[in-house]
Structures are given as C-alpha cells and as structure tokens.
C-alpha cells in the first residue's frame, strides 16, 4: 500500500468518525429501538414478509426502529427470550405460543396490555378479535397476549379415495359414526391383510394433546379451567374420547397402530397412505402444492358436540421497558393486527386471519372465493375452544401426552392412562391452587 493511499484512508476514516459522532446523538434522541423476537428460521418466504411489515411500519412511524430477530422454532424462541430475560436483557416484543402465557406470567416476564388500552379506539381494537383466540390470551381479568398467527385443527380428505371406495367425494364424514362407517370402505388391504391405505391418521407425536382436544371437545368436555390451575383428564367423557381414538386403531382397524408421527402425516396423505388426516390449517399450502389428487378440507367430525382447539402464536410485551418504549411497542402490535394486515398475513401464510372484519376486506374476499377450503378454519372458530394451557404448562401437557401415547401403544388402558395423567397433573398444579 502506498503512502498516499494510506493518508487518504486515514483522512476518510477520520471524517467518517467525526460525522458519526455528530450524527448519532441527534438520532439517538428521537429514535426508539425495539427488539422483536419472531419464531421462524432465517431464510424462506416468512422472514421476507415480516421484514416487509417492519419496513412498512418504520415508514409509517418515523422514529421507531424494529429489530426483528428470527429465533427458530417456537421452543427455540421461548428458550432465547426467557434466557435473555433471565440475564436482564429481555426482548421488547415477542411472538410466542399462546399456551406459554402462564409460564411467562409465572416467570414475571411479561406485562398485561390493560394499562395501555385507554382510548375508545383501543378498546374497540381489543374486542375485534375472535373470542376463541382470546380464550388463550386472557386470564385473571387481564389481557396478556394479542392473537397474531393462529391456527386450528382441520380434517383433510382425499376425494379420489372417496370416489374409489364408492363414497360421495364431496362429503367428508361429519360425525364419529360416519367416520367409522366410511372407514369400513376406505381401508384397503393387500392379500396378506396388511393395509395399503388407511382411512384416517390422527398424529400422536410431539403434541398429541392438541389433536386429542379435537376429540374431547367433540365429546363435550373441557380439559382445564380458565385460570389454568386445574385439569380434568380423568373425567369419563375424556376417557371415552381416548377410547374412541384407541378403537380407531385396535377395534375398527382403520388407523395404523402405535403412535403416528406428526411430521410425516402430511406425506402419508399425499402418498395416499391415508384417505383422511387431521392436521393444522398451517399445512394447507403444503398439501395444496404436493397432492396429486383433488382434496377437501372439513371441520373435525362431531359427536355430542363439535369443536377443535385453537393453536399458534400471540404477541407478548416483556416487562422491563420504559413507558415510551412500551407505547411504541403497542403501536407496532396494533399496526400488525389491522384488518388489512391480518388478511394479508392469512393469505400469505395459511394462518387463520385473527379478526372477523379481516374477512370483509376485498383481498380476503377474493382469496376465499378462489380457495374455499381456507374458510373452513374460520367457520370452525365458532366451535373452537382454548388450547390446553395451565401453570407449569409444558410439564402438565407432558403428563397428558405420555398418557395418550401409553394408551395408543397399548401399554395402559385409556382409563388407567388418564387417571395417571390426572394424578401427575394434580401434583404439578398443587402449588398454584
């Protein structure tokens, strides 16, 4: 490097240093910077959408900067947010599972939204969400989460398989009895008696409790109370629901035995290994792109009643924040949940748009007309219940998951499995009562 270039470099660096010193204090005085943890891996289409929203918000609100941090899965994001919180540097805003509400409250990590809701506009905004989504967002008379990317369990069916079995391809089984009756025709076996096509798959790994709620709700029973301090796993109606699930495999022989992997179920469906699957609305786009046959989406079949749990993520506000930052964060969350944005987000991702008026926007109306399956999840919300969520949530759901898996693999009777799960849950929840 020659001496003159070096001189030049030093001069340039010096000027840069001077200007940055001159500029930063002014910028710092008015810019509010907020960190926003969002549960998705870096890359792919979703971070791009979020980046677009963030840029749009910053454009509309000069002086507020949002630093989106893409933190992996829901579980990874919770781990990162809580570890950051415990080391004294929590994020300001985070999208985390709605069921993590009690955990976050118990850790004293989040602040309720109530103090921020002052104007009539704000009150109307809070009331604008589907009540089914708010069930997992409120407790003890306070609102702790704002619905953002929410989903529910629906039933996908293969119309070709129905036609081949001599069933009406446009009508999915609407009740448990119809499901079992159709099952007699839909299950295909080879000469040795091994099934080459099953009737139904209800996945049972990872979070079997969530799909189980699709059965218990239809059997007209709830799994926990609103304050998250009590569970009802050993109620007769819950045991009956589990018995039905087990019977699909062991008695009716229309579902594979043992636990069914959540991750490979959509693959089983597109590979025609099962004519019907229960899964999240979040798989809609995936199946739409990969299924080589016409398929339909229906509400979960009813029994004594109808219903499905909700799922997915909420916005949370973390505690340690100045009032000024809190107002800015609140502004961002309101901006992200306007009807237009809720519609746009729903169309782009397959999540259920979180407020009824989002479905009246022109974009959403057009989307729903082109792709009626998208509206099934919305219509099912009328019957939706809160996803299982209690204090010490992961431990309690684990007790239920273990019980469900023990019954499905045949190591325990449904009755024994649910009694054990209830005893374990009661033991875990004792300190919170």
């Amino acid at each position: 490097m020659s001496r003159t270039t070096l001189k030049w470099l030093i001069a340039v660096a010096g000027i840069a240093a001077l200007t940055s010193v001159a500029v930063t204090p002014a910028a710092m005085a008015k810019d509010i910077s907020l960190s926003f943890y969002y549960p998705v891996a870096v890359g792919g289409p979703i971070p791009k959408i979020i980046d677009g929203y963030v840029a749009g918000f910053e454009n509309d609100n000069p002086g507020i900067k949002i630093n989106a941090v893409y933190a992996g899965t829901y579980q990874d994001t919770l781990v990162k947010a809580l570890t950051a919180f415990k080391s004294g540097e929590p994020p300001d805003i985070a999208v985390l599972l709605s069921t993590d509400m009690f955990t976050l409250i118990d850790e004293d990590a989040i602040a309720p939204f109530d103090g921020l809701i002052k104007s009539d506009d704000d009150k109307a905004w809070l009331k604008s969400f589907y009540p089914a989504f708010m069930a997992n967002s409120q407790t003890g008379g306070k609102t702790w989460g704002i619905p953002f990317q929410r989903s529910t369990v629906v039933m996908f069916w293969n119309k070709d398989a129905f036609k081949a079995a001599g069933l009406d391809p446009d009508k999915a089984p609407d009740t448990w009895d119809e499901l079992v009756a159709d099952g007699g025709k839909l299950t295909k076996r080879d000469a040795a008696g091994a099934a080459s096509q099953w009737t139904v798959e209800i996945p049972s790994t990872g979070f079997p409790y969530w799909l189980f709620q699709g059965l218990t709700t239809a059997n007209d029973v709830r799994l926990m109370n609103q304050t998250g301090t009590q569970t009802y796993f050993d109620k007769p109606a819950v045991i009956q629901a589990l018995q039905f699930w087990v019977d699909l495999s062991r008695k009716e022989k229309i579902q594979p035995e043992g636990t069914i992997e959540w991750g490979t179920t959509p693959k089983d469906f597109v590979e025609r290994k099962t004519a019907i699957m229960w899964t999240s609305t979040g798989n809609l786009t995936n199946v739409r792109n990969n299924a080589g046959f016409p398929f339909g989406v229906a509400m979960l079949p009813a029994h004594l009643g109808r219903g499905s749990p909700t799922g997915g993520g909420n916005f949370y506000l973390f505690k340690k924040m100045t009032d000024e930052k809190r107002e800015a964060a609140f502004k961002f969350i309101k901006w992200m949940t306007t009807p237009e944005r809720a519609a746009d987000w729903g169309i782009a991702t397959g999540y259920v748009a979180v407020r009824p008026d989002a479905w009246d926007t022109p974009a959403m109306k057009k989307y729903a007309a082109d792709f009626p399956a998208a509206t099934v999840a919305r219509d099912q919300l009328k019957y939706a219940v809160a996803e299982l969520s209690t204090h010490d949530n992961q431990r309690v759901t684990k007790a239920l998951n273990d019980g469900i898996q023990a019954a499905l693999t045949g190591t325990k009777t449904p009755e024994q499995a649910m009694k054990d799960a209830q005893a374990e849950a009661a033991r875990i929840l004792r300190p919170y009562q």
Partner: protein
C-alpha cells in the same frame, strides 16, 4: 514474553545478588502468564459451570419474584421418586450398552475390510465415511422417512420378503432400537478412520513373520492385530461412551422421547426439564447425576483398562 523481559530488565541494574529472587519470581510469572489464556477459558467454561451446577442443585428454582432458597437434598429426593428419570437412565444404559460395542465392532470390521486390497477401495472408504460428514439433524430427518410405515425404505425392503409394514418409531418395542441403529450408522465411519490410521501404522513385517510361522488369519488378528490396536480402542471407547450420553439431536427430531418416554435419554430429559419446564434447579440435579456417572465411567476406564493396554 514482553512482561518477563521488562520485569527482568527493571530488576537488573542495581546489585547482582538481589536479582536472584526476582528472577525466579519472573520465571513463575512468565509461566503463569503463558498458562493464563487457557486457564481462563477452562475455568470460565468448564470448572465454574460445573461447580455452579452442583451448587444450584441444592437450591430451589427461582421463579419470577421468588428467589432461590436453600433446600438441601430435596431435589435429589425428588429425583429418586421421579419415574421418568429412572426410565431415562434405564433407556440410556440400554442405548449405551448397544451402541458402544456395536459401533466399535463395525468400525473395526470396516477398517480391516478397506485396509486390505480389494476392488473399489476408494469408493468403499468414501461410502463408509459419508455418514460422519452429515450433520446429525439431517441424518435424523432422513431416517425419519426410512422408518415411516408403509412407504419408508425399511418397510419397502422388508415388503420384498413379504413382511408387512410396521410402525417402527410408534411402537414401544422398536422405537429405541431404531434410534440405536441411527447412532451406530452415524458413528461407525468416524471411528473407522482411527482404526484405519492405526492399521496403516502397523509394520507389515508382523504379518510376514506370522505367515512364516503359519499363524491363521483369525489367530493373527486375535493375538497380534487386536492387542496392538488397544490404545486406539481405548480412545474410541472413551469417545463412544461420551457420544452415547451427549448426542441427542436425533431424538429431538425423530421421537421427542416418545412414545411414553420409551426413547427419552438422560440428556434429552435434562433439556426438557431445564428449557421446557424451566425447572433449572432440578435440571442441575440431573446434570450432577450425569456428571457423576460419566466421571465414574472415565475413572474406570483409566484405572482398569489403561493397565491392560500395551503402548508401543
């Protein structure tokens, strides 16, 4: 270097006799300064966390506004009454007892095979080593589909022989065995490299001498090759044991400990307790258990096996 020189230089001028003590001191300071970077890292990332973990296991988990309080051995008592812990420990013992000997045997067999003069040797070497290069998460995702009932590779292969589809990962009797197979497949190639290196170090004169004496191939392996490979075997054994307690990525991807804790290993359970239930004190207690177990195993290896090994 700089510091020792300057200290020596500063102490140098006045009286020659007074220099002796500072000189010795300077050597010590010099030595400690050289050690410092390594020592700082070791203390900060190994010793301090280990001690903190042991201390944490005697306290309750701090929650929200409630700070941690001293609870003595209560966490250990809870552990003794925790059926999932015993299940995880039992699973881990079965897992280690299957993975370790099978991996080592397979690694040795593969190394001997590709050490000989056979056709397509580079290709074989490559294919044996490939699983090692893949990340465990990717391996687990591939095997997840190998095991899927019906159209998975395993069921398709068995279907040729008329064996019906089986729900490999969803059956309590086969789930753990499936994970063991993945671990063996993943690690055998890695250990093979060490055996291969050791085999190539071995003098060909030994084989020639044995051939002249008329020793059979099996006899030669049993009495010459295997004993000479013992240092490598010890090294591989220690690594295999550590891996069998340390690698849980495939469990996270393939079964998440299910069905009903059949595939929960100790470290996976510690992760669940620590980062899903946020019961950090109990997770610390379980970690102490794991540490004690590993320390015990390592001690056994060094005290017992080391004596029986012939180093060249």
């Amino acid at each position: 270097m700089q510091s020792s020189k300057s200290i020596a230089a500063a102490a140098a001028p006045p009286v020659p006799r007074a220099r002796l003590v500072p000189m010795r001191l300077a050597v010590h300071i010099h030595g400690w300064l050289l050690l410092l970077p390594a020592a700082v890292l070791l203390v900060a990332f190994t010793h301090y966390p280990a001690v903190a973990t042991i201390l944490d296991s005697f306290f309750s988990t701090p929650k929200g506004l409630r700070p941690a309080v001293f609870v003595g051995l209560e966490n250990y008592q809870a552990m003794i009454y925790d059926p999932v812990f015993w299940r995880a420990l039992q699973n881990n013992i079965i897992y280690a007892a299957s993975v370790i000997p099978l991996t080592i045997a397979l690694a040795l067999a593969m190394a001997i095979l590709i050490n000989g003069k056979i056709a397509g040797r580079p290709l074989l070497r490559l294919s044996f080593f490939t699983p090692t290069v893949l990340p465990m998460i990717a391996v687990a995702n591939i095997w997840l589909f190998f095991y899927s009932p019906g159209y998975g590779l395993l069921d398709q292969a068995l279907g040729v022989f008329g064996i019906g589809p089986h729900n490999w990962l969803g059956d309590q009797h086969t789930a753990l065995a499936c994970l063991i197979a993945v671990a063996i497949w993943k690690d055998a190639g890695f250990f093979m490299i060490f055996y291969l290196a050791a085999l190539q170090q071995m003098s060909p004169q030994l084989a020639e001498a044995a051939a002249i004496e008329g020793a059979g191939r099996w006899y030669f392996f049993r009495r010459v090759t295997f004993p000479l490979l013992m240092p490598t075997t010890l090294f591989v054994l220690i690594n295999a044991i550590i891996n069998s307690f340390r690698l849980i990525d495939h469990i996270v991807v393939m079964t998440r400990g299910g069905p009903d804790n059949t595939t929960a290993l100790l470290l996976f359970y510690i992760y669940e307790v620590g980062f899903k239930y946020w019961d950090t004190a109990y997770a610390a207690t379980l970690t102490v258990m794991l540490l004690a177990l590993l320390a015990f195993l390592a001690l056994g290896q060094f005290l017992f096996l080391d004596r029986r090994i012939h180093y060249q």
